[in-house]
């Protein structure tokens, strides 16, 4: 009986922890006026030399209006972000181009930052792998 109760408790804990992980896939920041910005982005991306790849960036906001800018930093050499767009809603597609001579890297640590009004900004890591085109 004790073993069954213990297993039940462990199972419930695992469920709770699992729910928290699923709900915390984004990075959330709060500004001084109570606005919150949650950035959701893929954890990793693979791009071939000479090709264009994209990622979808999702934004969740509370008490935060206005466009949200998205910036990518520390991209591998030869990989560039081609978009200058801002998100006015909750989602945006961002494209990257890898030059024919882009560095071949595995699990390169770049980062994506979403910035809204009032200086609010959320950052997440983005792992990039560059492979040979053919």
């Amino acid at each position: 009986m004790k073993t069954l109760a213990l297993l039940t408790v462990v199972g419930l804990l695992a469920l709770v922890v699992g729910c928290e992980e699923r709900g915390s896939t984004g990075t959330t920041v709060t500004n001084t006026t109570g606005g919150t910005l949650t950035l959701q982005a893929p954890a990793e991306m693979t791009i071939k030399r000479g090709e264009i790849a994209n990622v979808m960036i999702d934004i969740k906001r509370e008490n935060l209006e206005g466009p949200v800018s998205v910036r990518f930093d520390n991209l591998p050499a030869g990989v560039t972000a081609v978009d200058r767009k801002q998100i006015v809603g909750n989602q945006g597609e961002f494209n990257f181009k890898a030059a024919d001579t882009a560095d071949l890297v595995s699990n390169h640590q770049a980062k994506v930052t979403a910035s809204g009004s009032g200086g609010i900004a959320a950052t997440k890591p983005l792992t990039i792998t560059v492979t040979n085109g053919e």
Binding site: G66, P67, R84, Q86, I87, V88, G89, E93, N95, S117
Partner: protein, 130 residues
């Protein structure tokens, strides 16, 4: 807030004007307006991929805009020929096959559809080179 949007929209439009572009504005109810800006010309080589940037300036609304790209030359395909976007710009990625039709200044249409029936179409001239 409205002024911020206006400044950003004007900035984007100005940048595209400098680069050479086509644009049109459709107006809706309650002061809403949608301005679509496309490049004047695009050139792509056979076997290559090209990104086409489309500007979307919204006035007094922030909802998604539906975009579609039509009348591409034979052998030129878009990764997505239509999409719904929530951004100030949108990008179409087009690819020319190795045997794509060699055309000069073919008119390609971009249509933008916003809320309240607002819709506008612009064209750019696409050239496919060897």
């Amino acid at each position: 807030m409205k002024s911020t949007f206006t400044v950003l929209a004007l900035g984007a439009i100005l940048m595209m004007l400098v680069a050479g572009c086509q644009q049109s504005t459709v107006r809706g109810p309650q002061g809403k307006a949608l301005t679509l800006t496309v490049p004047a010309t695009v050139t792509i080589d056979r076997g290559q991929t090209q990104v086409i940037e489309v500007g979307l300036a919204r006035t007094d609304f922030t909802s998604p805009v539906r975009l579609s790209l039509t009348n591409l030359p034979h052998g030129v395909t878009a990764r997505e020929s239509s999409k719904t976007v929530e951004t100030t710009m949108a990008t179409f990625v087009i690819q020319a096959a190795n045997d794509a039709a060699l055309v000069t200044n073919q008119a390609v249409s971009v249509r933008a559809q916003g809320p309240d029936g607002m819709a506008t179409t612009e064209q750019f001239r696409l050239t496919v080179r060897q």
